[in-house]
């Protein structure tokens, strides 16, 4: 006799469990689907339309990667293992239960279809028997064990360690206890059955169900009679069934809804543009711009973001604004939006002007929105692909449109509008750094060059950076580079202007720069500033009618190329022990991690990584226009926290940056933290210059 899967073992057949169990289960699933649909329709009813279903194949790929394989979740070890153990166990239980249902009732389907074999030999239609069944049991049982490990970790984390990023409230405790009851209920049911049928070769599976078998030994050891164990089995079976039903019907209203919403959220994630490209201002049917300040201004996908949030708090953990003590937590921002949505959506959905869905100025304050550096760490970390930064910029656009901003930002924007730079200096002073006759920088407007160097505001105007800018020019010259600049015609590239939410000014700056590009002859653009690099690369008109597309390089990439081609030769090996700070807009947004590191190595420096590096680099705090804003809500500057991180590295004496704004902020931070004697901030190009 080979073992096989019993149907409703221990439940009297005259009760007709098949009928009512399935009835209950179908009803429960119906409740689940109905309630979920009620919730989901509000996204469309309240939110604006947005196409997010193109490329379904790619989208399914995202679901596989982030919903099933959970690569983002696994990015952090403890919570990753914890969650995956629970989630995958449930995936397996779901598949197992489905298989069991098919196994139990496939023959009936064939009977209905009039298949004679199905009537005479229903057993032939079952596949969970013999070896297959044993493996089936083994897999299910092992995942039960995995679940128990994961759930144990979750209990320990939630009730003992209680990390601050978690939402520690009863909704989560309820869900956790419920899933534990479901799984332990199943395990105990199985083990009681195994205890009773231990001598029945057609049902006993022995060690193939290791957890159930072990637990069964416990029941056997109690010396209880098979009848007593059967009765216990029935009790626990009812509890198990009840808890499963409870889980299904409460799922849409509880925290477990994330199982569904995260699937949708990963499927509908942003595909149409790279991370570094913001969506332009949306327009309504009448061609008027939509400034996002209320629920109705959000797209349905943004509303879905709220419901997809699992409240894991990873975004908050990596957020420089949160670490700095500002009122912004990306998690709280999403949750504030979600809570407002839940409170008002039913009314909003009923009529076009019913309900109040105001967000900005209510649950989401200007201070929160202005605290964001748009570093993208939250977006990078979110396991369910929520798009925080896009939403923040959308809302900033509203604030700018209403003129609600701090005085310093207002000044900076006014200067950018008038002079094309945030320093409020004349455009004629832009190339003042290039005045020493020895430099001889070509004018790309007057003669053709291979590389157009887009110098950027900080490198051009900041008194403290002129030296580095000149060194950059010298390095380019020694590398035999044919390059020129736009002199007073260059304007701020507008990356941060756009991220501040001043879309109109951004467009005006783009127009001016594009006009200047059109009047110059060059093949490639190289930028000093990663922010310029990002917007030139992703947000400027990608083609030029007369020239076609021109490549955009950051100087770190160009230096790397020059070194690889042997055009830059070094006389010295510097031998410094350095660390490197990945600028957000070079690294996280554009994936340039290796080029600057290769350059550092080429100068003979030893690179020691900070704990937060690569795509997990920690923002200096200047991005997204923060460099133009008041800092009164900042308790600890991100740049200072970063310097402390670097100082903790053994023997590191130089902090290498590849962004003029980094240079400005970190030079300050080294002084304000009092590590002037321990650490020198050096630009990548300074290392190169020194080694030549």
């Amino acid at each position: 006799m080979v073992p096989h899967r019993p149907d409703f073992w221990g439940i009297p057949a005259e009760w007709n469990p098949t009928l009512w169990v399935y009835s209950i289960m179908f009803l429960a699933v119906f409740v689940l689907v109905f309630r979920f649909f009620q919730q989901a329709r509000l996204w469309w009813k309240v939110g604006r339309p947005e196409v997010r279903w193109d490329h379904p194949g790619k989208r399914l790929g995202l679901v596989f990667k982030y919903w099933i394989a959970q690569l983002r979740v696994l990015g952090q070890r403890y919570p990753g293992i914890m969650h995956v153990a629970i989630a995958w166990a449930f995936f397996v239980f779901f598949i197992g239960t489905t298989l069991a249902a098919i196994d139990g009732h496939l023959f009936q389907l064939f009977q209905l279809l009039g298949n004679q074999n199905a009537i005479t030999d229903p057993e032939a239609f079952k596949f969970l028997k013999g070896g297959v069944y044993l493996v089936f049991k083994l897999v299910l049982d092992l995942f039960t064990v995995a679940f128990l490990v994961g759930a144990g970790m979750a209990v320990y984390r939630r009730f003992v360690r209680r990390p601050s990023r978690l939402t520690l409230d009863s909704r989560f405790a309820f869900s956790l206890v419920l899933v534990i009851v479901v799984v332990i209920g199943g395990l105990v049911t199985e083990s009681l059955r195994l205890a009773v049928v231990r001598n029945d070769a057609s049902l006993a599976v022995g060690w193939w169900a290791p957890a159930g078998f072990l637990l069964a030994q416990l029941w056997i050891a109690t010396g209880a009679s098979p009848e007593a164990l059967t009765n216990w089995h029935m009790v626990i079976w009812f509890i198990h069934l009840g808890s499963v039903v409870l889980m299904l019907v409460t799922l849409p209203a509880g925290t477990l809804i994330h199982i569904l919403t995260s699937a949708f959220n990963t499927f509908f994630a942003k595909l149409d543009r790279p991370a570094g490209k913001l969506a332009p201002l949306a327009q309504n049917k009448d061609g008027q711009s939509i400034f996002v300040s209320a629920l109705r201004d959000m797209t349905w996908k943004q509303l879905l973001d709220g419901d997809a949030c699992t409240e894991c708090g990873r975004c908050q953990d990596v957020c420089p604004a949160h670490a700095a003590g500002t009122p912004l937590s990306p998690k709280q921002l999403i949750l504030s939006m979600r809570d407002t949505f839940h409170e008002n959506a039913p009314l909003l959905a009923q009529s076009a002007n019913g309900g109040n869905g105001k967000l900005v100025g209510e649950a989401i304050t200007g201070d929160m929105l202005w605290s964001c550096t748009t570093c993208g760490a939250c977006v990078r970390e979110c396991p369910v692909l929520i798009e925080h930064v896009d939403m923040i910029v959308d809302m900033r656009r509203h604030l700018v449109n209403e003129g609600q901003m701090g005085g310093m930002l207002q000044e900076a924007l006014a200067k950018l509008g008038r002079y094309g730079n945030s320093f409020g200096q004349s455009e004629r002073a832009r190339a003042k750094w290039a005045q020493p006759a020895s430099l001889k920088i070509k004018d790309a407007r007057k003669e053709p060059v291979e590389y157009l160097w887009f110098v950027g505001d900080y490198a051009s105007y900041s008194a403290g950076l002129v030296d580095i800018t000149r060194k950059t020019a010298e390095v380019f010259q020694r590398g035999g580079l044919d390059f020129g600049i736009l002199y007073e015609t260059e304007r701020n590239a507008g990356n941060d202007v756009r991220r501040v939410g001043e879309e109109g000014l951004f467009e005006a700056l783009v127009e001016k720069n594009v006009e200047a590009f059109a009047k110059s002859r060059f093949k490639t653009i190289v930028t000093t500033d990663p922010h310029s690099y990002n917007t030139l690369k992703h947000e400027y008109p990608s083609t030029d009618a007369s020239r076609g597309r021109y490549p955009i390089l950051h100087y770190a990439e160009l230096l790397d190329q020059l070194i690889a081609e042997g055009k830059l030769k070094f006389n010295r090996q510097l031998g410094y022990k350095v660390t490197y700070h990945d600028p957000c807009y070079l690294g996280r947004y554009n994936g340039v991690y290796d080029a600057p590191r290769r350059v550092i190595q080429a100068t003979g420096c030893e690179l020691v990584e900070m704990p937060r590096h690569g795509d997990r680099s920690f923002c200096c705090g200047a991005g997204g226009g923060r460099i133009w804003m008041e800092e009164d809500l900042v308790k600890e500057r991100p740049s200072e926290s970063r310097i402390r991180e670097a100082v903790a590295l053994d023997g590191v004496t130089a902090f290498v940056v590849a962004c003029p704004k980094d240079m400005t902020l970190y030079r300050d931070a080294v002084k304000t933290t009092g590590y002037e004697n321990r650490l020198v901030v050096k630009d990548l190009v300074e290392l190169v210059h020194e080694a030549m």
Binding site: L281, N401, M405, L413, Y419, S426, E503, G504, A508
Partner: protein, 253 residues
């Protein structure tokens, strides 16, 4: 309360200023004109009053390079009517400007005329008191904040030393604004661009721009560098060291 705001364009001091060949005027080839900052405050004050007490705001500016943008910006803030004073406006003095402005303002019949208390290129006094004399209105300058009160306004008048008087001014009146009740608001470029499509600027010929018997500038020059500071050269660190030494010499440290 209907308000007329007079806005002047003045040399942008961010640019390096040069004196032309005649030696008696600024070299206009390098000159960039911007809105007189105090006039910008006057516009803001007018909009604040409109928001609190209603009425129409008319902004009048001479036709100089960049004036359209300035007028559209005012419209984006909430100004109702835009008037451009056309004619040979370059180098016009306040005597001539005031005469032209007075003619226009007489037709508008505003309750209140606001303008910046001064401009960086005023050489014959400011526009406000001249307008008051020509229009037979009361004038108060150095005003930082205006509150309407029946047929008058209460204004904060600033004196040197930080003393402020609350002054009641019966309407109609001209006020010289030092600062609006709130800093001038930022207007996004998109709104200005939109206004440039929808708002209408009325051209009004300035008529006779007789400069009157005003003083003629014979000679312009940059202030003497004889009293110029001793410059401390070097990096921030060296400068700091030198300053410490100076502090010690002066017995401040």
């Amino acid at each position: 309360m209907d308000i007329a705001v007079v806005v002047k364009l003045v040399p942008d001091l961010v640019e390096e200023l040069a004196i032309d060949e005649s030696g008696a005027a600024l070299d206009t080839s390098y000159l960039r004109l911007i809105v007189n900052e105090l006039d910008n405050h006057a516009v803001e004050q007018a909009i604040l009053l409109k928001e609190s007490a209603g009425g129409q705001v008319t902004v009048i500016a001479p036709d100089l390079e960049g004036v359209d943008d300035i007028l559209f910006t005012a419209a984006a803030k909430g100004a109702d009517r835009l008037i451009k004073l056309t004619g040979a406006m370059s180098g016009v003095n306040n005597y001539a400007l005031s005469n032209s402005l007075a003619a226009i303002i007489r037709e508008i019949k505003p309750h209140l005329v606001l303008t910046g208390v001064q401009a960086n290129n005023d050489l014959d006094g400011s526009v406000g008191p001249r307008l008051a004399a020509l229009l037979g209105m009361a004038y108060v300058g150095y005003v930082s904040g205006v509150t309407p009160a029946n047929d008058s306004v209460k204004v904060r008048k600033e004196y040197s030393g930080g003393l402020v008087a609350q002054v009641a001014v019966r309407l109609p009146a001209v006020l010289g604004i030092q600062a609006a009740g709130k800093p001038p608001r930022y207007v996004p470029i998109s709104k200005i661009r939109q206004m440039s499509k929808t708002a209408r600027i009325k051209d009004q010929p300035a008529g006779d721009l007789d400069a009157g018997n005003g003083a003629a500038v014979k000679h312009m020059f940059k202030p003497e560098m004889g009293t110029h500071a001793t410059m401390i050269e070097g990096e921030a660190d060296e400068v700091a060291d030198r300053l410490i030494a100076i502090f010690k010499e002066q017995d401040i440290l």
